[in-house]
Structures are given as structure tokens and as C-alpha cells.
């Protein structure tokens, strides 16, 4: 049997990225402030984690405006969803083997 720890996705090591992906799993799209309130991080920290998820095309970014203020919304891509589900399955597998 393959070691489930190897199945874990390195990109999902951080609490912030896990938080972003979890929130986007159950919401069609969220904006920067929604995510910030949910995960409780600083702007810079959140932005850098969003950037790396975007570079791996796990999330999609849409820039828009509400009035004159910018409103950037994030959605999960199909690839991101698959990767996150695999990561969750691996976590569950690890729990099962350690029991």
C-alpha cells in the first residue's frame, strides 16, 4: 500500500491556504474581505497565499468594481477542487492508519 503521507499536497501545508480552499469549496465565490474575516489573517499574508494558489491555477481571480472601490472575488477551479479533495482523502487515510 502506498504511504498516504506522500499523497498529501505540499501546497496545502499552510493553515491559511487550507482555510481559503475550505471556504471556496462551499461558496461559489468570495471576495478578499470575506476571506479575511473567515480565516483571520493579515492582508499581506492572505494576499501572498492567494497568489500562490492562483499561480497553481487552483483558484481563479476576478477583478471588479463596486462603485469606485475594487472588488476582487475568488472562485475555485475544477483542478483546485480535485487537488483539495485528494488532500482531504489523504488526511483521512492517515487518520485511519494511525488508529
Amino acid at each position: 500500500m502506498r504511504n498516504p503521507i506522500e499523497q498529501l499536497n505540499k501546497l496545502f501545508d499552510s493553515r491559511v491556504r487550507i482555510g481559503i480552499m475550505s471556504a471556496l469549496m462551499v461558496n461559489e465565490s468570495l471576495n478578499f474581505n470575506d476571506l479575511k474575516a473567515l480565516i483571520d489573517v493579515t492582508d499581506g499574508n492572505l494576499a501572498s497565499h492567494l497568489k500562490s494558489l492562483e499561480e497553481n491555477s487552483y483558484i481563479k481571480v476576478q477583478k471588479g468594481f463596486i462603485g469606485r472601490k475594487t472588488n476582487t472575488t475568488y472562485t475555485m477551479t475544477k483542478a483546485g477542487e480535485t487537488a483539495f479533495r485528494n488532500h482531504l482523502n489523504a488526511l483521512e487515510a492517515i487518520i485511519k492508519t494511525t488508529k
Binding site: I5, L8, D13, S14, R15, I18, G19, S22, A23, M25, V26, N27, L30, D34, A37, L38, I39, L88, L91, E92, I94, I95
Partner: protein
């Protein structure tokens, strides 16, 4: 960070679960909101009952036999208008109190009141409620006020069932019972106020106590 997460997959899954739950559902609805709304409804219903009794003893029945239809009609309109105003005041007081207790609970839990989940919940609630409001208004206008308690109960129940997807799922059952009372109200004549009182007063108080017991009390214990 890396090592820590690897070492504790259970904690990671719990975090994921918690974020999904918090971002998909608005969980700060307070049990006290239900109790408050129910008590407000009971007071409103008591006033309405008083008015109905006064009307049946006093001017209303005497008038309707002795005065030409045109004039009674005017009195009748004013009489119905008074009930409509009472209903609106009850609604505002119930909503304001409900909002207060829910805000308080959200503040204590460090949650935001205006989140994507709460926005969706409000929208899902508002659609059936607005349609129900239009129905109630038209029925009242056409002189079918006997159906108004049934309309209120049924559309309110539908709104709750609709909104339950985005908040505590228990609200679904409250919605179901409201609809059941509303349908009963369609068939039972002359029990409108009684069924309205059961639905908006008694059910809300019961629901509030059950919710408080199930969620709020636990939160207080956790803190202590």
C-alpha cells in the same frame, strides 16, 4: 508549520470542517431571538383579541344592522387598518429584538453579522416573505382578511424552510410546523387568531428555548 500539520491530521480536518461550516451557514442566530419574537407575538395577539371582543360587544354589531352599507364600510376599513398597523408594529418589535440578540451572540463569538452566508440567508428568507406580503396585502384589500393568518403562517414557513439551508438546519422543522398550522388555518374557520398565536407566539418560544438549550448553553459552558 509543515511538521505540525502532518502530525495532526485530525486537527486539520476539524479546522476545515469549521471553516466550511462558518462560511456556508450563518450560525449566530440566538435562541433568545425566538423567545423574544414569540413573546411579542403573544402580546400582539392579546391586544388583537381585546379589540375583537370590544367590537363584538360594542359598536360593530350594532352598527352593521342599523347603518347604511356605505358608512359601515368606512368604519370597517378603519377597523381593519388598526389591525394592520398592530401587525406591522408587532413585526418591527419582533425583528428589532431578534436582531439585537443575534448581534449580541455574533459579537460574543467574534463572528461577523454581514457575511456571505448571512447575506444568502436573508435573501432566501426575503423572497417567500415578500411574495407572502403581496398576497396578504391583496387579500386584505379585496376583503378576504379571514385568510390572512393562513397566508402569514404558510409563507413564513416556506421562508424558513428556504433559509434553513444557510443557517442552523433546525429551523427547517419550525418552518414545517408553521406551514402545517397555516394549512389547518385554511380549513378551520374562526380560529385564525388562535392558530396565528400558536404559530408565531408559542412555536417561536418553544423553538427559542430548544435552540438556546442546544447551542447557546453549550457555548456558555465552553467559555466557563
Amino acid at each position: 508549520m509543515h511538521q505540525e500539520d502532518m502530525a495532526n491530521p485530525i486537527k486539520t480536518l476539524q479546522d476545515i470542517h469549521s471553516i466550511m461550516e462558518r462560511s456556508a451557514r450563518f450560525l449566530s442566530l440566538s435562541g433568545w431571538s425566538g423567545v423574544w419574537a414569540g413573546c411579542t407575538a403573544l402580546v400582539g395577539a392579546a391586544i388583537a383579541r381585546q379589540w375583537l371582543q370590544q367590537a363584538s360587544e360594542g359598536f360593530f354589531y350594532e352598527y352593521s344592522n342599523s347603518i347604511p352599507i356605505g358608512e359601515t364600510n368606512g368604519d370597517y376599513r378603519a377597523y381593519v387598518f388598526r389591525f394592520a398597523m398592530l401587525a406591522i408594529v408587532v413585526l418591527i418589535v419582533a425583528l428589532a429584538g431578534g436582531l439585537f440578540f443575534t448581534m449580541r451572540k455574533a459579537r460574543k463569538a467574534g463572528a461577523t453579522l454581514w457575511s456571505p452566508a448571512s447575506r444568502r440567508m436573508v435573501f432566501e428568507l426575503a423572497v417567500p416573505l415578500a411574495i407572502g406580503g403581496i398576497f396578504a396585502f391583496v387579500f386584505l384589500y379585496r376583503g378576504f382578511e379571514a385568510y390572512i393568518p393562513a397566508i402569514c403562517l404558510v409563507f413564513y414557513g416556506l421562508a424558513l424552510m428556504n433559509g434553513s439551508k444557510h443557517t442552523l438546519s433546525d429551523i427547517r422543522y419550525l418552518g414545517f410546523f408553521e406551514i402545517a398550522l397555516g394549512i389547518l388555518c385554511l380549513f378551520l374557520q374562526g380560529y385564525g387568531l388562535l392558530l396565528w398565536t400558536l404559530g408565531f407566539g408559542v412555536l417561536h418560544i418553544l423553538y427559542g428555548i430548544i435552540m438556546w438549550n442546544k447551542y447557546d448553553r453549550q457555548a456558555i459552558k465552553d467559555k466557563a
